[in-house]
Symmetry: C2
Subunit: 171 residues, 2 copies
DNA sequence: AAAGATTGATCTGTCAATCTTG
DNA sequence: CAAGATTGACAGATCAATCTTT
């Protein structure tokens, strides 16, 4: 049986993990607040942003799933809300009738344009500013190293057969 | 009106934020899976851990709220589940009858002892290993810098009047 | 049979309101 | 009235099951 050693309870790895969690919670508390003022959740913002960045301002549901940390049904629901709000429109895929495109509407682009500058400001204030000019590059490299391991697909460099550009995209 | 400039859509700050989100999603997907095998969610694990580390193996509900990224009602619900499962017990506070202590039970300690080593292994594998020996200290310092700004209270060094030790604690 | 998408049931957490004690 | 805790109503996401198309 495993005894509950006191060293285990104070393992430095717990501290690191705790810091990561606190940072994440803190930062997206701030950004969620800002985005909320523009009537979108973080997940919705992420979808709008990805659509706006994509070739035809559109992406298949499956590709959205691959690019976010949501499940396919999660994406269905986010797109439901966005299309209900008129920020996104569903469109049938001509070549494969199983697929559906989500297309960002002019209203969606407008909403994004309205929310984005403030969002960048929050990221600047709560992430870049505290890091400082010096630590930034190192921090980003560290994140990238971890990302490449926990999300190997995000960097898999095979030229996208269908329309999924392998950008680094936030939510 | 704000035009949707193409530069805004590709601002490097979005990349950084996106990396942070991906890393967080990736890492706690892994750890959630491991913890799930022991029948606890990440939030529940965090509460058990904090209780185990606390002076009398107990904490007031309020202190738990302060130490996690949950609301007070969120903590109520987590403790509900844990006490339903027999891993935690509620106990009245003698000095202030508004307060309730959550006390970890022997079963709770056992569960924690059972889950903790595997959890540490996951953190090692998905966080420390990818970072590598060299980047670790820098990364932790960076996180701490951000944490201090987004969560100023977590480091406020006033000696805890009531029982809330200002550890660095994960969830 | 597998891939894409959606739906119903459920889980976890929040918010606002409430109750009790200080 | 403020602080601590809980509760009801609800939002957001997941899982497993389902339906359609390949």
């Amino acid at each position: 049986v495993t005894r509950l050693d006191d060293d285990l309870l104070h393992d430095p790895r717990l501290t690191l993990m705790g810091l990561l969690i606190e940072v994440m919670a803190g930062v997206d508390c701030k950004t969620t607040g800002q985005l909320g003022q523009h009537g979108v959740t973080a997940a919705e913002f992420g979808v709008l942003l990805r659509l706006a960045r994509s070739p035809q301002r559109q992406l298949r549901m499956t590709d959205l799933t691959a690019q976010t940390s949501l499940t396919n049904s999660g994406i269905t629901r986010v797109v439901d809300r966005l299309s209900q709000a008129g920020l996104v429109r569903r469109e049938a895929c001509p070549s494969d009738r199983r697929s559906t495109y989500a297309v960002i509407t002019p209203a969606g682009l407008a909403r994004l344009a309205q929310a984005l500058p403030g969002h960048l400001a929050e990221v600047q204030r709560w992430l870049l500013d505290p890091l400082g000019e010096g630590a930034l590059a190192e921090f980003e490299a560290a994140l990238r190293a971890v990302r490449d391991v926990v999300r190997p697909d995000a960097t898999a460099g095979i030229p996208p057969a269908a329309g999924s550009p392998a950008y680094d995209v936030p939510a």
